[in-house]
């Protein structure tokens, strides 16, 4: 009888701690975007990107070999997440996430756009046709973030950073330098993003018969919205982010050698430098962009 009671008591203790671990699991700690914190805020600026991949180790080898990124891996519960770092600065995150058997999914980079008040921004976005993909989560050191799909279905995230937004410097090699939205109707999409992020919108003269507009805040170009290229039936609206490199052609060749693919051959873009679009080994597309220091203005007005 006494043995039975002792066994029951032990079981209760075990179950107590199991329950405690389930209910009170520690929050997933993400480092701040800026350390030391910045007092600046730049709504509409692309401030972060997360890759979702089924093979984190392969992605680390690829991006480390191509861009010189190093990684700080965070293990928490079922999440394996690596912070990519260059010159001591975090530039993005790589999330391991398995694809359920039988499902076909495309690995991708998720674009994070800065907001000052995520509840207001999310509300405005939803009121103008966006859908919430992942509702607001609070990661105390990073900030509050939510993932949405815009009216055409392009996925993006908004982030109210706890450590402010980085000052507006020219991106260094290995850092994100540009973001492009490719959409069926850039006109309507630009209006949507203007409503949510208060962008100034500049419609560019087009040489290719398609629409290209610049989304601007703080008198800096933040992103472009563009008509999808040909074969629209085989394409869907999406954000595409570009990383600054010293030589786009060499980097594209290196990406292929590391197991990636070249999706758009290196060519001269609007600023006079070369760009290319590649995919990593799991298929996630991103751009490579050359940019010499004298290609951009030095001061905001």
């Amino acid at each position: 009888m006494r043995g039975t009671r002792r066994r029951d008591a032990c079981l209760s203790v075990v179950v107590f701690f199991l329950g405690l671990s389930v209910a009170g699991a520690a929050p997933f700690e993400l480092p701040p975007l800026n350390s030391p914190a910045s007092s600046e805020h730049h709504a509409g600026k692309m401030v972060w990107a997360d890759l979702v991949t089924p093979d984190l180790a392969s992605a680390e080898r690829f991006y480390g070999g191509l861009l010189g990124w190093t990684f700080q891996t965070i293990h928490s519960g079922k999440s394996d997440y690596a912070i990519a770092v260059i010159d001591g600065r975090p530039v993005g995150g790589l999330l391991q996430k398995s694809i359920p058997p039988g499902e076909h999914r495309q690995s991708a980079w998720l674009t994070f756009i800065a907001v000052r008040d995520i509840d207001t921004a999310k509300g405005v976005a939803v009121a103008h046709g966006a859908k919430v993909v992942s509702d607001t989560k609070n990661y105390p050191s990073r900030g509050r973030q939510a993932v949405l799909s815009d009216p055409e279905g392009a996925i993006f995230a908004m982030l109210d950073s706890s450590s402010g937004d980085a000052p507006d410097y020219l991106a260094g090699p290995g850092e994100w330098i540009w973001s492009s939205l490719l959409s069926k109707d850039p006109d309507s999409e630009a209006a949507f993003y203007q409503t949510v992020f208060s962008y100034d919108v500049f419609d560019l003269a087009s040489d290719d018969g398609r629409q290209h507009v610049i989304l601007s805040s703080d008198d800096f170009a933040r992103a472009s919205a563009n008509s999808l290229p040909d074969d629209a039936k085989t394409r869907h609206p999406h954000w595409l982010n570009f990383i600054r490199v010293d030589n786009a052609a060499e980097s594209a060749a290196k990406a292929a050698a590391l197991g990636g693919r070249v999706l758009v051959e290196p060519h001269v873009d609007r600023h006079g430098g070369q760009v290319a679009v590649v995919a990593d080994p799991s298929g996630a597309p991103f751009g490579l962009m050359e940019w010499t220091a004298n290609d951009s203005k030095t001061e905001a007005k």
Partner: protein, 98 residues
């Protein structure tokens, strides 16, 4: 047997209640939105679509500032076009640390 089950249930429920109380107290759930316990921001795109593949004449990058505007700025757009007097901006050019 019933005693064992009762012990298990009591222990589990007590732990769940305490854990949830702790989580709410620490994180302020309901005030700031749910706290990320795991990380679920990663979003897979649907498969079967084509990326890239466009030719050299298709340009999505920024200009160097002052790029030529559409000849009819402000006309027949869904968005509010910036005034024609404003030059098209470029990306930040100030080197880090300056």
């Amino acid at each position: 047997m019933n005693a064992v089950l009762r012990s298990l249930a009591a222990g589990g429920l007590a732990a769940l209640a305490l854990g949830m109380l702790y989580a709410c107290a620490v994180t302020g759930v309901g005030v700031e939105g749910s706290v990320g316990v795991g990380y679920d921001a990663g979003y897979y795109e649907p498969s079967g679509y084509e990326y890239g593949g466009w030719g050299g004449g298709y340009r999505v990058g920024p200009g160097r500032g002052g790029d030529r505007r559409d000849e009819h700025p402000g006309g027949s757009h869904t968005f509010r076009s910036a005034p024609a007097s404003r030059p098209t901006p470029s990306i930040p050019g100030r080197p880090r640390g300056h």
